[in-house]
C-alpha cells in the first residue's frame, strides 16, 4: 500500500502471465484512487466554467490547506489504530492563544512559539492519557476537544481576538512563486510526513503498532513512546494550522474549526487509511483531501443550492469509496 510494489512483484513471480497479471492488478491497487481523482478533475475542468484556472486552483489549494496539514498527522494517528477528535479545538485554541500572546508580548514570534508549545502540550496530554492510562482514544480526545474548546472561549471571552501586528498577516497572505505560504506549508507537510511514514523507523513502527499492538510490543517497539509522539506531533501541526488560519483571518477565533476533525478523518479514510490500523499511504491521503476540497469547490462554482450540496457531498463520498473498493471485491474470495 505504501508504495508501488510492481517492481518487487516482477522479481519473484512464477509464470510470466501470472506475473503480468499480478503486476497489472498491483498497479490498479496502488493508483486506483489517484485515477478516480484525475478523472474527476478532468471532467470538472471540461464541464465547469472557471474550474480549470490558476486562480481557482490556488483557491482550492488554500481551502484545503488546513485540512491537508492535519490530515498528514491524522494519518499516523489512524494508522496506529488511534483516533483524535481534538484537532478542531486545537486549531481554534492555537489561533486565539497566538493572537493573545502576540498582543501581550508585542512579538509575533513569541506568540507563534507559545501557541505551538501549547498545541504540542495538548497532544502530549492526549497521548500520555491514551498510551499510559490506557483510556479509549475516542473518549480521551472527545474530552480534550471539549476542554480545549472551553479554554479557547475562556481565553478569548468568546470573541475573536484581533492581532495588532501587521507582520503576522504575511504568514497567511504572502506568496512565493505565486503560491500562497499556507499552500507551501501544506505541501511541506505532505513531503515531510510522507518521508516519515515510508522511510523512517517512526513511520514503520506506527504502522506496526496499528497492525498488531501486542506483536509490535513484543518485537521491541516502544509502543507507548511512539503513540505519545504521534499525538504530540498531531497537536503541534494542528496548532500550526490554527496559527496559519488565524493569520489568514487576521484574528484568532474561538469557534473556528468546528467539525474540522470529522473532515480530516473522512479525508484520511477516503484516502485509504484503515480505521483498523496498519494501513496508510500519503498519496492516498493527499488525494482524499483533494477530492473533498474539489467537490466543495466545484459545487460553489456551479452555484448548487445549499440544500442540494448536502446530497452531492454525500453521493460523491460514497461513489469515491465505492469505486475504490471495487478492487477489493476481486481479492475477497
Amino acid at each position: 500500500m505504501t508504495e508501488p510494489n510492481a517492481a518487487a512483484i516482477a522479481a519473484t513471480r512464477e509464470t510470466p502471465e501470472a506475473r503480468h497479471r499480478a503486476l497489472l492488478w498491483q498497479i490498479v491497487d496502488d493508483y486506483s484512487l489517484i485515477g478516480i481523482f484525475v478523472v474527476l478533475f478532468a471532467v470538472l475542468s471540461m464541464t465547469v466554467q472557471y474550474f480549470f484556472s490558476w486562480d481557482n486552483v490556488v483557491g482550492l489549494a488554500l481551502s484545503v490547506s488546513q485540512i491537508g496539514m492535519v490530515a498528514c498527522t491524522m494519518m499516523f494517528c489512524l494508522a496506529s489504530r488511534d483516533f483524535d477528535l481534538s484537532v478542531g479545538s486545537t486549531v481554534a485554541f492555537a489561533g486565539v492563544f497566538c493572537a493573545i500572546v502576540s498582543n501581550a508580548t508585542g512579538s509575533v514570534v513569541i506568540g507563534i512559539g507559545a501557541s505551538l508549545v501549547a498545541g504540542a502540550l495538548v497532544g502530549f496530554v492526549n497521548g500520555a492519557v491514551i498510551a499510559k492510562l490506557k483510556i479509549n482514544a475516542l473518549i480521551t480526545t472527545l474530552a480534550t476537544m471539549e476542554i480545549v474548546r472551553g479554554l479557547a472561549f475562556i481565553a478569548s471571552h468568546g470573541q475573536a481576538v484581533g492581532v495588532t501586528s501587521e507582520a503576522f498577516f504575511t504568514l497567511g497572505s504572502a506568496e512565493f512563486l505565486s503560491l500562497p505560504v499556507p499552500v507551501w506549508v501544506t505541501l511541506a507537510c505532505f513531503v515531510v510526513f510522507g518521508v516519515l511514514l515510508n522511510k523512517t523507523i517512526y513511520g514503520r513502527n506506527t504502522l506496526a503498532i496499528g497492525g498488531n499492538p501486542d506483536a509490535a510490543r513484543l518485537a521491541g517497539v516502544a509502543v507507548d513512546r511512539v503513540r505519545i509522539a504521534i499525538f504530540l506531533i498531531q497537536g503541534l501541526v494542528a496548532a500550526l494550522a490554527g496559527i496559519i488560519l488565524a493569520s489568514r483571518m487576521t484574528s484568532g477565533q474561538p469557534n473556528a474549526g468546528e467539525g474540522f476533525e470529522l473532515n480530516v478523518i473522512s479525508a484520511c479514510v477516503l484516502g485509504g487509511v484503515s480505521l483498523m490500523g496498519g494501513r496508510a499511504s500519503i498519496s492516498g491521503v493527499l488525494v482524499g483531501v483533494l477530492i473533498m476540497g474539489t467537490v466543495q469547490n466545484a459545487m460553489s462554482l456551479m452555484n448548487i443550492d445549499a440544500f442540494y450540496q448536502y446530497l452531492v457531498r454525500g453521493a460523491i463520498l460514497l461513489i469515491a469509496v465505492l469505486v475504490d473498493q471495487l478492487k477489493n471485491r476481486r481479492q475477497s474470495r
Partner: protein, 307 residues
C-alpha cells in the same frame, strides 16, 4: 470591467441552512432576475470558508459580493481579500469591525444591529407585561443564551438592557445556556432554569432566535406555565413562530421581532448591481428596523412587508 460584460455578484452568508438567509437569497435572486445579472450564493459558516468563498468568487470572475460574515472581527481580512481580488464589497445584517472593534466605515452596510433587535424584544416583553399587570418581582426572565456566538450574546444583552430600562429587576434574569442552538437544547436549558426558581409565578423568555424561545415555551408548558403565565418573544419571525400563531389555542409564544429579509436581500443586490454596472455607489449605511409580530397581526404585517 467592460460595460458589456455580464454582471456577476456573490452573496455569502454565514448560515446557509437558516430560513432567514434562505429568504435573503430568495429575494436577491428575484433582483437578479429583474436586473439580469448572475447571483452566486455561497454559504460560509466559518472564517476559513469565508476566505475560500471569496477566492472562489474571484475565480469565477464575479465583480463584487455581499456578505453576512460569521464573525464581524473578520473585517480586516475580508476587506483586504476583497481588495486583492478586486471585488466590490458590501455587508448585510452584520457590520464588519476592525481590530480595535470599531465599525469599518468604508464598507457599505445594510442591517440592523444585534443589540437593537434585542432591545426591541425587551421592549415588547415589557409592554406586554405591563398590559397583563404582572408584578416584576414575581416574574422570572429566561435568558436562553449561547454566548459562544457573539451575535447571540449581543441580542440577549440588548433585551436585558431594554427590560431593566423598563424597570425589570436584573436579579430576576435567569441565565439558561443552551449547549447547541436547537430547540431541544433550549428546552433542556429552560427546564432546568425553571426547576431552579420555583418562586416565580410568571415567566418571560428571550433568546438568539425563535427556536430558542420556542424551546423555553415548551419547557414552561411542561411545568404548567401556559399562555397566560408566559411571554416569549423570539427573533426572526420564522416558520417556528408562525406555527405557534397558527395553533388553535394561544401559547406562551407571544411574538417575534420580524426583520425583512426582502429589503436585505433585494435592495443590497440591486445596490451592488448599480454600483458595478453604473458606478453608482450605494449608501454607506442603511439601518432597517424590526417589527413585532404577534398572533393578532402576523399575517397583516407580513403582507405589508411583501413576504
Amino acid at each position: 470591467f467592460a460595460a458589456d460584460d455580464p454582471v456577476k455578484i456573490g452573496f455569502v452568508v454565514k448560515q446557509p441552512e437558516e430560513p432567514w438567509f434562505q429568504d435573503e437569497w430568495k429575494y436577491a435572486e428575484q433582483a437578479a432576475k429583474e436586473k439580469g445579472f448572475t447571483l452566486v450564493k455561497i454559504g460560509a459558516p466559518d472564517g476559513g470558508q469565508v476566505l475560500t468563498a471569496i477566492d472562489n468568487l474571484k475565480s469565477q470572475h464575479a465583480q463584487g459580493f455581499i456578505i453576512c460574515t460569521p464573525d464581524v472581527k473578520l473585517g480586516p481580512s475580508i476587506v483586504a481579500k476583497a481588495k486583492i481580488d478586486k471585488l466590490k464589497l458590501m455587508t448585510v445584517d452584520d457590520r464588519l469591525v476592525d481590530g480595535a472593534g470599531n465599525p469599518i466605515e468604508s464598507v457599505p452596510h445594510m442591517g440592523i444591529s444585534a443589540s437593537k433587535i434585542g432591545e426591541q424584544v425587551g421592549e415588547a416583553i415589557a409592554a406586554e407585561m405591563k398590559k397583563r399587570g404582572w408584578k416584576p418581582e414575581e416574574t422570572g426572565a429566561l435568558r436562553i443564551s449561547y454566548d459562544q456566538l457573539p451575535t447571540a450574546k449581543e441580542r440577549t444583552d440588548g433585551a436585558i438592557a431594554a427590560l431593566t430600562a423598563a424597570g425589570f429587576p436584573k436579579a430576576n434574569v435567569v441565565n439558561a445556556p443552551q449547549a447547541k442552538t436547537d430547540t431541544e437544547n433550549a428546552f433542556n436549558a429552560a427546564n432546568i432554569a425553571i426547576t431552579q426558581n420555583p418562586k416565580y409565578k410568571h415567566w418571560i423568555a428571550f433568546g438568539l432566535n425563535d427556536e430558542a424561545v420556542l424551546g423555553a415555551v415548551r419547557a414552561a408548558e411542561g411545568r404548567n406555565f401556559r399562555a397566560d403565565n408566559m411571554i416569549g418573544v423570539g427573533i426572526g419571525g420564522s416558520k417556528s413562530a408562525l406555527n405557534e400563531f397558527a395553533k388553535a389555542q394561544p401559547t406562551g409564544f407571544f411574538g417575534s421581532v420580524l426583520i425583512s429579509p426582502k429589503r436585505h436581500g433585494y435592495e443590497t443586490s440591486v445596490n451592488m448591481y448599480e454600483w458595478i454596472k453604473n458606478g453608482k455607489a450605494p449608501p454607506q449605511l442603511t439601518f432597517t428596523t424590526g417589527q413585532l409580530i404577534t398572533r393578532a397581526n402576523a399575517a397583516e404585517i407580513r403582507k405589508d412587508m411583501g413576504l
